[in-house]
Each structure stands twice: as C-alpha cells, then as structure tokens.
C-alpha cells in the first residue's frame, strides 16, 4: 500500500521534472497549493441577497450572497422549504426561517429559524418554531421581519388561520403568538409595532409591549378594494413606512410613523390609455431607492390574470413628481422577462433584475446601462434583498 502511494506520487512529480530539464527556458514549476476557506470581503451596499426558491425541487431553497460590482457569487446559505429571510438591523446576522424534514422531503418535520453569522455564512444558533409557519410563494420583506432595533423578529403563521409569532431575539425564545384576524404579513414600524394587510382593504396594526406580548391593536381606514383593484402583497419598505402597488398600477404609499397609518394621495404608474393594458407583474415587481427617491416597476402588456407574468420593460418613476423618467426594455428573447427587481440603498445605486430564465442582470440604476449579466444563476430567482 505504501509502495503504491509512492508510485503514484513519483508518477505525478517525475514527468514535470523531466520536462523542465528537457526544455531549458521553461519557467519553474508551480508551487504546491493549499486548500483554504475564503473570507467574505468587506460588505458593500452593492451586494444583494438573492433568494432561489428551487421551484422544481422546492426543499432545496437557498440564499446567494452576490457582489454586483464584481459580478460574482460570494457564498450561499441553505433555506430549506418555503423559507423566509431577514437580516438583522446591525447587519451581523441573517435569520433564515424554513421547514426541514428528517428524511429529505418526508419524516419528522421541523420548523426552525437559523441565525447565520454574516461574516462566516455559518449558522451559529437556532430556535425551533411552532409547526404553523406561513408557507407562502409570494415572498416579501414582511413574511419574516425584524423590529427596527433588532429586539424582536416577527414570523408569520398560516394554518390557515393567520397569526404572527413574536420572537425575542436576545432571549432566543418565542414570547407570544398574536392572532391577526385573517390579516397577513408583518410590516414593522418603530418602536415595536407591526402592520398586517386585510381582505377588507384595511391595515391592522399591533403594538408589542416590552415582554413581547400584544399591547394594543388598531384598524386603519380602507385604502383599496380587493374586488376592483387589489394591491400586491409584494410591497417595499420606505423611510416612513411602506409602499404598495396595485394590479392595475396604482401606488399606495403608507406612513407608519404614527399610531395610525396615514395614506399619501394615490398616484398611478400608467396613463388612462395604458391602464389595464400595461400592468405591473412578476414576483417582486416593485423596487425603491431612497437617495434618488425613485421607484422601479416591472411592467408587461397583458389583461386580467396576468399579474404574475414577467415584464418586457422596467419603468422608472420619480417619487416626488410621480413622473415616469425612463422605460428600459428587457432583452426578453435572450435573457427572459423580468420577474424581480432590487435597488441598492446607496446614492449610486445598482438595480438587480432577475428573469424568468433565472438570468441576473445588474444595471446602473441611474442610466439603465447593463453592467453585468449572469446568463443563468440557480433555478428560480424570485426575491432579492439588500444587505
């Protein structure tokens, strides 16, 4: 056995030595290499978390960490089945809530939130959750969301009765399950409140006390009609609260800074002649950048029932004037239609665009110029999130 190993080693070394001797000007052979573990570079606002739901094998979801400047995948975290993702406000931890079974797709079921260290991309702890976590294909920042100070994590449930589990992060425990009366999502607002969206077109806001239990609740005025023009679940956070967009393209900006939600005047991304023919659609059809105060919308031509269709264009709007400032066509034939958008948070932002062919394009969000294209990254990039 030892001789055999020696033989293999000699076979690997001798030919190189013989070759070097035969050709006098050949450079020195390469030095032996050592295996190591790459360390993540310094975080950049141009990074993004890309959620791949692995649609054809759903129990294998993952979160890619991607550097839009370098056009490079930096690492990956496991997201199990119907996973939700949230990053802590201090940026040190990612919370990944997911379903696992002991035998792959069957066996004993576990609902768990794993706390990943964002320096190492390794889980450093976990918390078992009640087996009622909401498993929802429409992925938003508000299926799982931290309070602004990082004290609580709100995890949405559906059995199909809807509720929210309140997680005390420092104590690593579930303090309470708050019944949300058929309303869904947990949109956080300071200090310790979350807001859910209801079938009757109103918002339910629940305040949480210091012990992690419900302190009070209030229901807003009605701001949309689900029969006439429902708002997408996929909304975007804003400095004051949250912005929704409707199936027909109306924009509902909501201020959540006070005790009661306040609704800004409605505006639309479509003209009267475009209405009903050009529509928002996809999986993550709306993005927003604060420094530029610009909205980005995935748009397609289609009729009723087309609200999940990918977009042939990205429309850009000024958040103050509500004027359309650009239309950026997608190369649909080459890369597929757009299904998800994410604008980075900085004042020279990138716009990440994922397509229905699981291509990823990184654009200059000010000009629309394509900076980088991944022809295929993973299987189904349906949601992206800022670090």
């Amino acid at each position: 056995m030892r001789l055999a190993r020696l033989g293999v080693a000699l076979a690997a070394i001798v030919p190189a030595a013989v070759l070097a001797a035969a050709v006098g000007s050949t450079p020195a052979p390469l030095a032996p290499e050592h295996i190591g573990i790459e360390k993540l570079p310094k975080r950049s606002p141009h990074w993004a978390y890309l959620l791949d739901v692995s649609w054809s094998n759903y129990i294998d979801e993952r979160v890619y960490v991607y550097d839009g400047d370098a056009g490079r995948l930096l690492g990956m975290m496991d997201l199990g089945y119907y996973g939700n993702f949230a990053e802590s406000p201090d940026g040190k931890t990612s919370a990944l809530a997911a379903t696992y079974w002991s035998r792959g797709g069957h066996g004993t079921r576990t609902e768990v939130v794993e706390w990943y260290d964002n320096q190492t991309l390794k889980p450093r702890g976990e918390l078992i959750l009640p087996a009622k976590r909401a498993q929802v294909g429409a992925i938003t920042p508000f299926n799982l969301a931290y309070s602004a100070d990082g004290r609580f994590l709100y995890s949405t449930n559906l059995t199909p009765a809807s509720s929210v589990s309140i997680i005390d992060v420092p104590k690593n425990t579930v303090t309470a399950e708050v019944d949300t009366d058929g309303c869904v999502q947990a949109i956080p607002s300071a200090p310790h409140r979350f807001t859910a969206i209801c079938e009757n077109g109103r918002l339910l806001t629940v305040a949480i006390d210091e012990s992690g239990h419900e302190a009070s609740r209030a229901v807003s005025d009605k701001f949309f009609d689900v029969d006439k023009d429902p708002v997408f679940l996929q909304s975007v956070p804003t400095p004051a609260g949250v912005t929704f967009i409707s199936f027909l393209g109306d924009v509902h900006a909501v201020d959540l800074t006070g005790d009661k939600p306040r609704f800004d005047p409605l505006w639309s991304v479509v003209s009267k002649t475009e209405r009903g023919h050009w529509r928002p659609g996809g999986q993550q059809m709306l993005a927003y950048n604060v420094p530029l105060n610009r909205y980005f919308v995935v748009m397609h031509q289609g009729g009723e029932g087309s609200h999940k269709e990918s977009g042939s264009e990205i429309w850009v709007f000024d958040g103050a004037s509500h004027q359309r400032v650009a239309r950026w066509p997608m190369n649909v034939a080459k890369h597929g239609g757009a299904i998800a958008l994410l604008a980075t948070r900085d004042d020279k932002p990138l716009l990440y665009v994922a397509t229905d062919k699981s291509a990823l394009q990184v654009l200059d969000a000010r000009s629309g110029r394509v900076l980088h294209t991944e022809p295929k990254l993973g299987q189904s990039l349906w949601y992206m999130q800022n670090p």
């Binding site: 649609w55 054809s56 094998n57 759903y58 129990i59 294998d60 089945y81 119907y82 379903t99 079974w101 792959g104 797709g105 069957h106 079921r109 909401a134 498993q135 929802v136 294909g137 429409a138 559906l158 059995t159 199909p160 009765a161 809807s162 019944d179 009366d181 058929g182 309303c183 869904v184 969206i197 209801c198 079938e199 009757n200 689900v226 029969d227 006439k228 023009d229 429902p230 708002v231 997408f232 679940l233 199936f247 027909l248 003209s271 009267k272 002649t273 475009e274 209405r275 009903g276 023919h277 050009w278 031509q301 289609g302 009729g303 009723e304 029932g305 087309s306 609200h307 999940k308």
Partner: protein, 189 residues
Amino acid sequence: MQARFDRLVELASRSVARRSSRRGFLGTFAMAITGVAALPLLPVRRGSVAEAAELPAKPTGAAGKEAGAPTKPKIVTDPSSCEYWKYCAIDGFLCACCGGTSTTCPPGTEPSPITWIGTCQNPTDGRDYLVSYNDCCGRTTCGACTCVRNEGEKPMYRMSLNNDVNWCMANDNPNYHCSVSVILGVAEK
C-alpha cells in the same frame, strides 16, 4: 378521508370563531370548503368582471393581449396541457404529468383537504364552473408541466382565491408536489 376533513374544518372553524370577528371568520371559513353543499357560501367573483368597471370603455393606444379582433380559440382537451380549460387559476405543477390525472394525485401523495377556488369557462358547453384546486402533498415538487394561470386570482389576504400559499399546509406532510382541478359545479350567474 371525508370524516377527517370534516373534523379539520370543524376544528379550524371553532378555533377561528373563538378569536376572530364574524367577517374574518367567514373569510377564513370559505377557504376551507370543498364540499358542493357549501357552495352558496363561496365568495367567488370573477376578477375580469370586477375589474371591467375600472377600465376605459374603449381602450386605445398600447395594444395588450386583450386588444384586437376576437378569434375563436382552439379547444384544448389534453389535461397535461396548461391550456386545458379547468386550469384557469392554477399555479404549480400539473398532476396529470406527475403520475396522476387532472382529478387524482400521483401514487404516494395525499390530497390537501383545503383548497383555493377558481371559476373557469368550459369552451365546449360555454358554462362557467367552480373548480377546486387541491394540492397533492408528501413529496417535493414534481418538476414537470409547470402551469401558471391566474384568472380571478387574488393576493393571499383573500385566501380562498389565492394560489400562492401552500395549500398542503394542513396536511401531515405539507410538502407540495402538484395540483389537481376538481369541478364542484356550475357557477351561478
């Protein structure tokens, strides 16, 4: 199976009723119905009808898919085709491509007792039918015949008409595999 489902609906109904308003209870209860006997309670309303009031009467300008002269659509009778009429509000994998049919789950899987509802027009007889979209559960996603159609589909806050949530959620094993479409009856005008 029926007895188990009855218990599930009863338990869910009691649980929700204890903690919810009447309106919230009705909304949640409606989505847990699969029986034809309960049809009058179903909150089905065709989205196209509802949205029509919001649209310009005679749209001009950009040409959407709805624009242009109407053409007689080809009738698709293959249940492994996404164009099959019963699939008008389905989002998932067709069980007919996964070892089942349009109404049966593949071997080794279990149907979901709770569902979402669509209203689809049968091009052969011109009638609108209420269709229950049950998921088949217990294996990972089938991966064959993805079909995404969303006529009348609504976001998950109107759960009975939503196809984004995992309708295997109440199964012993909530692993989604594929979807079937089961006619409940003719939709009332």
